[in-house]
């Protein structure tokens, strides 16, 4: 396959038109001793039939489970067909960042709609246009709140491990070692948090619900953090926001999270989308793209990329972040997903996740040895003990086309982190639980 349309004759004519005799005349600046000797050591061109054949075979080596009880940062939700059809339109897919606003209103307006939806979901005032994923959103938020006199970063041990690792990488690179607050019964240890907070603290990062699926005592946390003059960053599961108290209601200073549940497939981990929203006062601290509404000379409503004085192409080494892409197509996908579901629809998804998870939890914990590892309110994920070796148990579930919960070691004990969404039926839950019973 080749995607170069110019014929060999045209290439000759073009060279001739420039007064050149051969292509080599254009590459004289590249020294001979750094040239590739002959051809690159990779296979040659293939036809579409061959490429498809190879890659279909590769995809076929992956196991797609009919039933899934695994979350832990990536969630299988239903994606209405209309989402893929609209977000897949080539005009959106093949466009660049909307630098030329006049010919990019079709990209800019959906970003503005996206920002509005994130504000509606989180209750916050201002959203950016999106960042790489939920973990980098948390890391960017931490960096956003660090100041000259407030550099200390505190993170709860109950956040998703990958988010914690990402925050560690970003903070360490910038010269700060985050302080980790231990967990107590699966939730942030409030006493330990109170001890760690001081007048050098920039911010505290927590998740609601946390990694174990538990709803944290966020109001007490918010009060503690604010009493120390620090900022509260709350990592959220966007679907849960339809029913759970929002970061804004807790008084959080930033709401961030992984927007993959809003219409993006599991896709082995990406592309996903990170969302970031703050209070008006912190607007100019936000990293990344932001779309704004204005007018043109004729008074027509127009959308532009705005507040760009924050960004790398203007501020260079003084910018707080180098991020310049906003996962625009993922943001568009989330926007269309939220519109397709609407306020009733998203609430219904959240209600079903919550109801089915509680039914599953009741059934699972009725099996001997599968007790809740931690007590407390949860949304759609929960951790239970696992009385048997998790590996053969999960293999047994896999034989039945079920991806079981995630096996994790907690305080030296085997446990399973279960996740239930609207995609799981009562019959699936019952079948899965019957296999657990058999495996005792």
């Amino acid at each position: 396959m080749s995607y170069v349309p110019n014929t060999l004759a045209q290439r000759e004519e073009m060279l001739l038109a420039m007064g050149k005799t051969c292509l080599e005349d254009l590459f004289t600046a590249i020294p001979a001793d750094v040239r590739v000797d002959g051809k690159l050591d990779i296979p040659g061109a293939q036809s579409e039939i061959e490429v498809l054949g190879t890659l279909e075979e590769m995809a076929g080596k992956n196991k797609v489970f009919k039933t899934c009880f695994r979350g832990a940062g990536a969630y299988r939700h239903f994606i209405p067909g209309v989402v893929r059809h609209l977000a897949g339109r080539a005009e959106f897919v093949t466009a660049y960042t909307p630098y030329q606003a006049e010919m990019s209103q079709g990209v800019l307006q959906p970003i503005f709609e996206y920002q509005t939806m994130i504000c509606e979901l989180t209750g916050m005032d201002v959203s950016n246009a999106g960042v790489y994923d939920g973990a980098s959103a948390a890391a960017e938020a931490v960096a956003m709140f660090q100041e000259r006199k407030r550099t200390k970063v505190i993170v709860s041990a109950t956040v998703k491990p990958m988010v914690l690792e990402t925050i560690m990488t970003y903070s360490t690179a910038a010269g700060t070692q985050p302080v980790i607050i231990s967990a107590k019964n699966g939730k942030t240890d409030l006493a330990a948090l109170a001890l760690a907070l001081d007048d050098t603290t920039a911010c505290f990062y927590m998740e609601q619900p946390n990694y174990y699926g538990l709803v944290e005592d966020a109001q007490q946390i918010a009060d503690l953090v604010h009493a120390a003059g620090a900022k509260l960053i709350m990592g959220c599961y966007p679907t849960a926001l339809a029913v759970l108290k929002t970061p804004a209601e807790y008084g959080a200073d930033a709401a961030v999270g992984e927007a993959q549940p809003l219409g993006m497939s599991l896709a082995f981990g990406g592309p996903y989308l990170g969302f970031m929203a703050v209070k008006t006062v912190d607007t100019r601290r936000l990293p990344g793209r932001i779309a704004g509404q204005t007018t043109d000379k004729a008074g027509r409503t127009a959308y532009v990329l705005t507040l760009q004085a924050r960004e790398q192409h203007i501020r260079r080494e003084k910018a707080g972040s180098s991020i310049c892409s906003n996962q625009a197509l993922c943001a568009l996908t989330a926007t269309i997903y939220c519109a397709a579901l609407g306020k009733e629809g998203l609430r219904e998804v959240a209600d079903q996740c919550c109801a089915k998870a509680h039914y599953a939890a009741e059934q699972i914990t009725s099996v001997k040895g599968y007790n809740f590892t931690y007590d407390g309110l949860f949304f759609n994920e929960f951790l239970t003990d696992c009385p048997v070796d998790p590996e053969p148990l999960l293999a047994k579930l896999a034989e039945n086309d079920i991806l079981g919960g995630l096996a994790i070691k907690e305080n030296g004990k085997s446990g399973i982190l279960w996740c239930v969404t609207e995609m799981n039926t009562k019959a699936e839950i019952d079948r899965m639980v019957s296999i657990l019973k058999e495996a005792i």
Binding site: E113, Q115, L266, V304, S322, G342
Partner: protein, 479 residues
């Protein structure tokens, strides 16, 4: 401009619905319950479809027309890439599935990683970074960890030429470096004397794009590498411009120690209106222990994840933008070794052809053959006519062409930067050359028309000052 999705909302209207819940409802306790409205739009499916279909008509992609946006490599995005990225075996797998159930994904990562190493002349790779700037942060963090590991704690300076992409210095600061900017020569390349003066025992690395941002190959690259290496520094290659030289020369052979790649530029994955992209980082063996975790390895007939010994950690969740790099793999398999080189040659040919045909009207500040892109300066035209680079750009919009990159690189006043890419035909280039010349003539004949441009778009030039002074960043829903 069309109404917002919120403005076409009608209470009670529904689109997608779920089956009836087959278990009992569970109420969230009052203390933890949402008590503020959530005003998402309420629309029927047909409203939704028309709204976004009509918006798509106000977007402009490579599929719509010529997109010579310098530094962005807006090449054609093959459709087979989309088909492969939509295979259920790739889209429906959970990232935390057991390794034995995702051997296809791991194989794809391994094969792609191997080919990208061969294309760049590097030894090891991570596919985790989500974009070029993310790759920069990753690669620079690896350099920092490497220097610290050697006990060279004083090496905290990163040298960056003044022609560099803005992300370079911004990423350097994120990775904890102090930036030392060095000026370019009047010819647009690295000033060797300035570099010699800048390096020292505090030098961590030099960050360079080659060809550089004015479209010129740094012909003294071997000497540059020697100067930096002799001072104990490393060389970072900003892969944004790799499309000019892939298959002809390799960053690894030029002396670079680490590079990020922009798969959404060089390897044909679509830009999506601003992402998702993919910014893998490839490096020499000395930096491999510092790569983000996990990396894919192949042992005893199976692919598996591994953590490099001195890994800098993660830069995001999971393994990167998987479906994006699946597209890049499809592209590399399709065009093969010979196609990689053919793409670079034709990208350079097309750029030189346009530059040559435009230089009797527009000023070309840097002489000699260019690589895959070139810069025009509107400075003299502006003095003569008052017409700016932005005016020229807006005039081109009315001709159905996406304008070049404006006002970059910063070292050229009133810059327009053109990168036609290899996937455009001579006919397309000739039409564009004509349009550029017509717009140039308008600067003298009818400058007001250019100042009023564009007229063919749904809106004219937006008032950006008001947008900044009085930011309206979301719609206030009054339901």
């Amino acid at each position: 401009m069309s109404m917002l999705i919120f403005e076409i909302s009608k209470p009670g209207r529904r689109c997608s619905t779920l089956p009836k819940c087959d278990v009992d409802f569970v109420a969230v306790p009052e203390e933890f319950k949402r008590n503020i409205p959530m005003n998402l739009p309420e629309v029927a499916e047909i409203d939704l479809v028309r709204h976004y279909t009509n918006l798509s008509r106000n977007a402009f992609g490579v599929d719509n027309g010529f997109y010579p946006l310098g530094s962005c490599t807006m090449k054609y995005n093959p459709k087979i890439n989309e088909d492969v990225a939509a295979l259920k075996g790739f889209t429906a797998v959970h990232p935390l599935q057991p390794e034995e159930t995702v051997q296809g994904s791991l194989e794809a990562m391994h094969v792609l990683g191997d080919r990208l190493c061969k294309i760049t002349g590097m030894d090891a790779i991570t596919l985790q970074p989500a974009a070029g700037a993310h790759g920069e942060f990753t690669g620079l963090s690896m350099i920092k960890a490497y220097q610290l590991d050697k006990g060279e704690t004083q090496r905290n300076k990163l040298i960056v030429p003044d022609s560099a992409h803005g992300t370079n210095p911004a990423s350097a600061v994120m990775a904890g470096f102090t930036v030392v900017n060095i000026p370019s020569t009047p010819e647009g390349t690295v000033d060797i004397d300035a570099l010699k003066k800048a390096v020292g025992d505090d030098t961590a690395a030099l960050m360079l794009t080659n060809p550089n941002t004015v479209g010129l190959f740094e012909k003294d690259i071997v000497k540059i590498a020697e100067i930096v290496h002799n001072a104990g520094g490393l060389l970072y290659y900003d892969g944004a411009n790799l499309n000019a030289v892939m298959g002809i020369t390799r960053p690894g052979d030029m002396g670079f120690d680490v590079t990020h790649l922009n798969l959404h530029k060089t390897f044909s994955t679509p830009h999506g209106g601003g992402g998702p992209g993919s910014g893998p980082v490839a490096c020499k063996a000395i930096l491999a222990p510092f790569l983000p975790a996990p990396v894919v390895t192949f042992n005893n007939g199976a692919y598996t994840f591994a953590k490099p010994a001195k890994s800098i950690g993660r830069v995001r969740s999971f393994y990167g933008n998987f479906l994006v790099y699946i597209r890049a793999l499809t592209y590399i398999m399709s065009i093969g070794a010979e196609g990689i080189r053919e793409a670079a040659e034709n990208a350079v040919l097309n750029a030189n052809y346009m530059m040559e045909m435009l230089k009797d009207s527009y000023d070309v500040p840097f002489g000699g053959p260019c690589m895959h892109e070139f810069v025009l300066s509107i400075e003299r035209l502006k003095k003569q006519t008052g017409i700016s680079a932005a005016d020229i750009a807006k005039g081109l919009v009315d001709k159905g062409i996406h304008p070049p990159t404006m006002y970059f690189p910063l070292i050229v006043p009133e810059a327009l930067m053109l990168e036609p890419t290899e996937t455009e035909s001579r006919e397309t280039l000739d039409n564009a050359i004509r349009a550029f010349k017509e717009v140039y003539a308008m600067a003298f004949d009818n400058p007001q028309a250019l100042r009023d441009a564009p007229l063919t778009t749904p809106v004219g030039r937006p008032d950006e000052t008001t947008a900044v002074r009085n930011p309206i960043l979301s719609y206030t829903v009054n339901n």
